[in-house]
């Protein structure tokens, strides 16, 4: 279907179903129950899942296929956001031009940075991209926000003020917020069934639709001759050069494509929440997308989506469990035991969520080098091996995990 082979079609259908049903799947617990703490089906987080999945899919086209590890991808996300907010400030709150412009700006930036950085490979490439990203961060944080030429509004972050130009914006006819031809990105329908509340959010569904489109695109790239060339760069660039092929244009194309994905993600972030700040470009943000991709499974199709969801879930759900929530959970236990359990668990939740994530990341890298996808495959194999021993071999060749 759609130029995909049977197996890929299945994956695509699964992702589509997951994306459409997310409001149900992410809210498995009734709102009033104690476990509601673990519900992730509120608009902001669902949007983040979709947006960071796009970001990670794009990163995976570069890292998973060519093996070039960029440590500065957040720079493209950041410029995409700034581009989108400037469209909001100057022209219109309609998200379509803003998103398109953010992709274009992401591409231009990626072309410039990639053109220089791709002259080196390996660790030098990583350091170059990191340097460019930190440079963009510093520029956005202070240099480009001085009172005479205020492009980024510095620490405060760029946002839309009532006094802004907004040439084509008519608050009489359309919402005074980012909208898609009149449909506000914030529009939300809450469906209450029994004790459950499910949120259907316009912003989320826009992000999800674009995610599906981008996922499809990445599948086609993975399966195309171009994708094969990119894999060749990863497996042996020297041999590729000896056969008379120039690897750099292919690598640059991959770099620009993944920069466009990042710009798109940045534009969507601004579309669902019209503000952007320099932190989006910081090296921690670049590191995050590397983690997402490796955690999910670099070089696999669905891995980056899983990794993005995993990390965002931790960041937003685990970081909000505080000691009073813990005390409430263990309230039934005797006092001494309650305090003991809370003292044991407390360092790993709330502000300690980084610690939990770090431990999980270590476990995954050590025991599942292929990321969560490999974990899934191993479980699948466990079930299948009882029926047949044969399935194992073509499973292994299907998706060879990166590093």
């Amino acid at each position: 279907m759609l130029g995909l082979n049977g197996r890929d079609t299945t994956v695509f259908v699964i992702v589509t179903v997951l994306a459409i049903m997310a409001p149900f799947l992410l809210n498995p617990f009734p709102t009033e129950s104690g476990l509601a703490q673990f519900n992730a089906g509120y608009p902001d987080l669902m949007q983040r899942f979709a947006i960071f999945a796009i970001f990670a899919i794009g990163f995976n086209i570069l890292f998973g296929l060519t093996g070039y590890l960029s440590f500065g991808h957040a720079a493209f996300l950041g410029v995409g956001s700034y581009a989108a907010v400037w469209i909001f400030k100057l022209f219109t709150y309609n998200v379509v031009p803003a998103i398109l412009f953010s992709v274009v700006i992401g591409a231009i930036f990626a072309l410039a940075i990639g053109f220089i950085s791709l002259r080196r490979s390996g660790i030098y490439f990583a350091i170059l991209t990191l340097a460019f990203a930190q440079m963009s961060y510093a520029l956005a944080y202070s240099v480009l926000s001085n009172p005479k030429f205020n492009l980024t509004n510095g620490e405060t972050g760029l946002q839309v003020y009532p006094g802004d130009l907004q040439m084509f914006h008519n608050p009489e006819r359309v919402p005074d917020l980012p909208h898609l031809f009149g449909l506000s990105m914030r529009a939300n329908y809450e469906l209450s069934v029994g004790g459950w509340d499910f949120n259907f959010n316009a912003g989320y569904y826009l992000c999800a639709a674009i995610l599906l489109l981008m996922f499809y695109l990445s599948m086609r790239i993975f399966r195309s001759p171009f994708g094969m060339m990119l894999r060749a760069i990863k497996s042996n660039q020297t041999r590729m050069t000896y056969t008379g092929l120039n690897a750099r244009p292919y690598a640059l194309a991959a770099f620009v494509i993944s920069g466009m994905y990042a710009g798109l993600a940045g534009g969507l972030m601004a579309a669902v929440d019209p503000l952007t700040g320099a932190e989006r470009m910081q090296w921690t943000a670049s590191g995050e997308v590397v983690l997402m991709t490796i955690l999910g499974g670099a070089g696999t199709l669905i891995g980056p989506i899983l990794g993005a969801g995993f990390i965002k879930y931790f960041e937003n759900i685990f970081s909000k469990i505080n000691d009073s929530v813990l005390h409430a959970w263990f309230a039934a236990l005797p006092d001494g035991l309650e305090d003991f359990l809370v003292a044991i668990i407390y360092p790993f939740i709330g502000k300690g969520w980084h610690l939990t994530l770090g431990i999980l990341f270590m476990l995954v890298v050590i025991f599942l080098p292929g990321g969560l996808v490999e974990g899934g495959q191993r479980i699948g194999r466990l079930f299948r091996s009882r029926k047949t021993r044969k399935g194992e071999t073509d499973e292994a060749t299907q998706s060879t995990p990166a590093e």
Partner: protein, 450 residues
């Protein structure tokens, strides 16, 4: 007899299509029937405490959190009641807010605008928070204030000192109790004139971002007004940890006062560097060299150690203040946590009580009604002395403290001593002051999310 075209199948089809058509528009409207965003239903009301728990200001964030928890206790009638006993408004009875028991959720801003907005959004969308309180950076405060304005809930700012928060970025749903850079300048200038004379030459080192600039602008303006000369203003990158290369030129510039527009770790490092260079032992133009740190906090003072001895600065509040409200708060905080509160803790505590009181006086949680109750509200007994919440820009006007690093501190908590309490009248400015966005700055319309 007319022939009816009504068939069972046709009816079902039409019904289904019509039903879908009718239902479709409602998918995209706010489905809830409540009058405003997150209207409390049931016996509880949820407040959102959004503070930095990781990152450079984590210490302050955690202190804020302690104070906010204390405020919730007092609102629910637990503990000793703290400032509820000294607060000039008696609308709160210690039975929650309007009979709703107060609960809270916490989030980590990481001192990043993005992360702060994400955690504030999750509090609003998932936990149904009716108000967001706290924070320890102006960038975060402005970002979250904008979010709350759009979402239609109240924002009570924590530690944010930039003029912009209630200046050009002011908003109808946002309120700030903390003082600002202009007030620091206005309070410091007379003390500086008295202690150092009127013919000083100042050299500024400024953290290169929004807050640093507004503070530099304010201090330059107020010191030049007393006759000082500004020799140079140098911006330092925010990520700097070693300021030696910025300090060395100060010695050769002919300046005899160094003003450090730095905060947090920046300030600790730059001040330590300056002291190591022996600036304070120098004599320039026949006068003793002096250092000024316009915005002080207890946690910074603790970090800088002995380097702060004799260095002047300003604060919103200090636990050593001797008034009824302050004493009640320090007693209550000290008994619970075993240490005196910092000024960021005090501002967050006061903000929670002020919000709760405004709700009680308005008789409604509707942010527009609450905002109206806070606008122009005059109160006393929360630790800062008589205070006004000005209606035009939602900024509190109260006394500002000028403090100095103590020469002989007796404990880790009295490293700062109060030099002067500058009366509110002296730090008051018109709402359309050019440093605060001029005539263009406006609060906009109050939004209740309906």
């Amino acid at each position: 007899m007319s022939k009816s075209l009504l068939t069972r199948r046709g009816l079902l089809k039409t019904g289904a299509v019509a039903g879908t058509g009718l239902a479709l528009p409602t998918i995209f409207t706010t489905g809830s029937a409540s009058a405003f965003t997150n209207e409390p239903t049931g016996g509880t009301v949820t407040l959102g405490f959004n503070v930095p728990q990781t990152g450079p200001y984590a210490d302050e964030g955690n202190d804020e959190l302690l104070a906010q928890k204390l405020a919730v206790e007092h609102l629910n009638g637990e503990g000793d009641g703290g400032c509820l006993n000294t607060f000039s408004s008696k609308a709160l009875e210690g039975n929650g807010i309007l009979g709703h028991k107060v609960t809270f959720v916490t989030g980590d801003t990481q001192t990043k605008s993005d992360a702060a907005r994400a955690s504030a959004k999750s509090m609003i969308e998932k936990d149904g928070a009716i108000m967001i309180n706290g924070g320890s950076s102006s960038g975060v405060a402005v970002a979250v204030q904008g979010l709350c304005q759009d979402a239609g809930i109240m924002f009570m700012a924590g530690l944010t000192h930039s003029n912009d928060t209630t200046g050009k970025d002011r908003s109808a749903n946002g309120f700030r109790h903390f003082f600002n850079a202009y007030m620091s300048g206005a309070a410091l200038a007379p003390v500086l004139a008295k202690e150092m004379g009127k013919d000083r030459r100042a050299y500024h080192l400024t953290a290169d971002y929004t807050w640093g600039w507004t503070q530099e602008e304010s201090i330059v303006a107020s010191t030049e007004a007393i006759g000082w000369e500004t020799v140079n203003t140098v911006k330092t990158p925010l990520a700097s940890t070693d300021f030696s290369s910025y300090i060395a030129p100060v010695l050769n510039s002919g300046a005899d006062v160094l003003v450090l527009n730095h905060y947090g770790g920046n300030m600790v490092n730059s001040l330590t560097n300056a002291v190591q260079f022996g600036l304070l032992d120098k004599q320039v133009n026949g006068k003793d060299f002096k250092i000024v740190v316009p915005l002080y906090s207890e946690l910074m003072a603790a970090g800088a150690g002995a380097a702060i001895k004799g260095v002047l600065g300003s604060m919103n509040y200090n636990w050593q203040l001797d008034n009824e409200g302050s004493k009640a708060f320090v007693k209550s905080f000290g008994e619970k946590y075993g240490k005196p509160p910092s000024n960021s803790a005090q501002t967050c505590y006061a903000q929670v009580l002020l919000y709760a009181d405004a709700v009680a006086r308005a008789g409604s949680f509707n942010p527009c009604a609450v905002g109206e109750a806070l606008e122009g509200f005059e109160f006393d007994g929360l630790g800062n002395g008589p205070t006004l919440y000005r209606a035009e820009d939602h900024q509190c006007f109260k006394d500002v403290l000028v403090v100095r690093g103590a020469q002989n501190p007796t404990s880790a908590y009295d490293t700062l001593e109060i030099v002067e309490i500058t009366p509110a009248a002296q730090v008051t400015y018109p709402p359309n002051h050019p440093m605060f966005g001029g005539d263009e700055a406006s609060l906009g319309e109050c939004n209740d999310g309906a």
